[in-house]
């Protein structure tokens, strides 16, 4: 039993926390980005509308994995580039020298002298941004669709009562939209869960990293030598993810019945009838 309680194993158990943390941080960030994206798509300013459209349609054409790989490096280099310009204005050598990206030592971020946990947290933060960016676009698509699904006569009624555009948006459209958006959002949540193992590709020491590390065959240099057990460790991950998706499906089913309350939809009607 001691095998399962080594420090390395406890790091494996902790890495499940990393997955949950990623979910907890990405979901609200993506929701916010998505809402902004959907608003941008409805904007009266053409440029904003285009930005919204490009943002939301980009993820439809390009695999998310490309974003996951691109965004963290690009963002990391962007931050170091800006810091380089600020902190080392005297350095005249170009930052891109052939194949190297060279910024002065003071511009490194995090600093070379920073603790290892700072570096790891930074890596995780960049990954979170990449996830939020991609899922924000998906959410924007869903919310945009939901806003369009709100019956037009509801909005017209608002206008007829003398409400301003802004009031109609915030008081009628947004509250109504959620129940239409919920099925899409719940689906996105499931997809987000299933995208979390991609953290591994970004160099974060997540569940996949530790499953590979622990499962790989061990010679007697290690305390507990064993053969190639990666299959079993991945089985554990499979079960973990199945439980996660199964559990959240249940939660969302409950939520959707609650949201249906008082809505002029079929589900809302059923809700009323059930009560009566």
């Amino acid at each position: 039993m001691c095998y399962l309680t080594t420090v390395k194993h406890s790091m494996f158990y902790w890495s499940f926390g990393i997955v949950l943390a990623l979910l907890a941080l990405t979901a609200p960030a993506a929701l916010l980005l998505g809402f902004l994206g959907a608003m941008a798509k409805r904007s009266q300013v053409a440029v904003v509308r285009w930005i919204g459209s490009i943002y939301t349609s980009m993820v439809r054409g390009i695999p998310d994995i490309i974003f996951f790989m691109f965004v963290p490096i690009a963002l990391g280099q962007g931050i170091e580039y800006v810091r380089h310009k600020i902190k080392c204005p005297d350095v005249t050598e170009p930052i891109r020298q052939g194949n190297d990206f060279v910024v002065c030592a003071a511009a490194k971020f995090p600093l070379g002298s920073a603790d290892q946990w700072v570096h790891q947290t930074y890596g995780f933060a960049l990954a979170t941004v990449a996830f939020a960016f991609v899922f924000g676009a998906f959410v924007a698509n869903t919310i945009d669709g939901a806003m369009r699904a709100v019956p037009a006569n509801q909005l017209e009624t608002g206008h007829a009562y003398g409400m301003t555009r802004r009031q109609v948006f915030w008081r009628i459209l947004v509250p109504q939209m959620w129940s239409y958006a919920l099925p899409g959002l719940s689906n996105l949540w499931q997809i987000l869960i299933k995208a979390t193992p991609l953290l591994f590709l970004l160099g974060v020491q997540d569940v996949v990293y530790w499953a590979r590390e622990l499962g790989g065959s061990k010679t007697s240099r290690y305390e507990y030598p064993h053969g190639d057990w990666r299959l079993w460790y991945f089985m554990v991950l499979l079960v973990f993810y199945l439980l996660m998706t199964w559990g959240s499906e249940k939660v969302f089913r409950r939520l959707s019945t609650r949201f249906a309350r008082g809505q002029a939809t079929q589900a809302g009607q059923q809700h009323l009838e059930a009560k009566a």
Binding site: T6, V7, K8, M11, N99, D100, F101, V102, V103, A105, K108, G112, S113, A114, D115, Q116, H119, E213, G216, S217, T219, S220, R221, Y222, E223, Y224, P225, D228
Partner: protein, 237 residues
């Protein structure tokens, strides 16, 4: 002119001593190549290079931290400054010297050997042979009639031999002998070991003279006082 030289020398001294006490040095390693380096059950980098590296840092007064990085990108990440040194069983080669610089070697060239399933004969050496990508073994194989298959980690490479995906694997003998000892006779060495390595050294950025001088001196000292040999005997029998 004289003044300038003295001034420069002073500046170098000043920065040298001041930084040697404070400078944090991040050492990049693979963490998957026992006995050189691996992640132990406490989740820490362990192995010959960990012990040697920590000793070197102690002597030079640098404040060292260990980071792991995929083998494939270990050189680009050094050049980009994500860490300051590589200690990953890396052989000193001319091709690598074009991108990074090395300290003097801290381990003499390790022979490379072919690993195969028991009962294999020498013909496997020209069959389908696995090697870790970007290694001296993979560039050696590229010039032989063998069909090279590259794997990103040593573990994957050995697994490929085990399941018959490849006929043999070419790697560092020290790494393979561990694998063979544990295989219960299923895996064996084939053919004679090859001498294709010049020795293992610490990789550094070409511009980083400070580290190279400090580590060179420290390695030399360990070599002279016999400490290095003790470590080598401990980890490589």
């Amino acid at each position: 002119m004289k003044k300038l030289i003295i001034g420069l020398a002073l500046a170098v001294c000043a920065s040298g001593t001041a930084m040697a006490q404070e400078r944090t040095v991040r050492i990049g390693t693979e963490g998957a190549y026992p006995p050189y380096n691996f992640i132990n059950d406490n989740g820490q980098v362990d192995g010959f290079e960990r012990e040697l590296g920590d000793r070197l840092c102690e002597m030079t007064g640098f404040n060292c931290t260990w980071v792991t990085n995929d083998w494939d990108t270990i050189i680009p990440n050094l050049v980009a400054g994500n860490y300051d040194a590589i200690m990953a069983g890396m052989s000193i080669t001319d091709a690598r010297k074009e991108m990074i610089s090395f300290t003097q070697r801290y381990k003499p060239g390790d022979p490379s050997s072919f690993l195969a399933l028991e009962g294999a004969d020498e013909s496997v050496m020209t069959g389908v042979v696995a090697a870790q990508s970007n290694t001296i073994q993979s560039s050696y194989l590229a010039d032989t009639p063998a069909t090279l298959v590259e794997f990103p980690t040593p573990e994957d490479m050995v697994a490929a031999v085990r399941n018959g995906e490849v006929d043999a694997a070419l790697a560092n003998s020290a790494y393979l002998s561990d694998v063979i000892n544990e295989s219960g006779g299923r895996l064996v060495f084939v053919g004679e070991p090859l001498d294709i390595a010049d020795g293992v050294g610490m990789g550094l950025r070409q511009s980083d003279n400070e580290l190279r001088e400090a580590f060179d001196a420290a390695i030399k000292e360990l070599e002279d006082n016999g400490e290095l040999q003790v470590m080598l005997d401990k980890w490589f029998n």
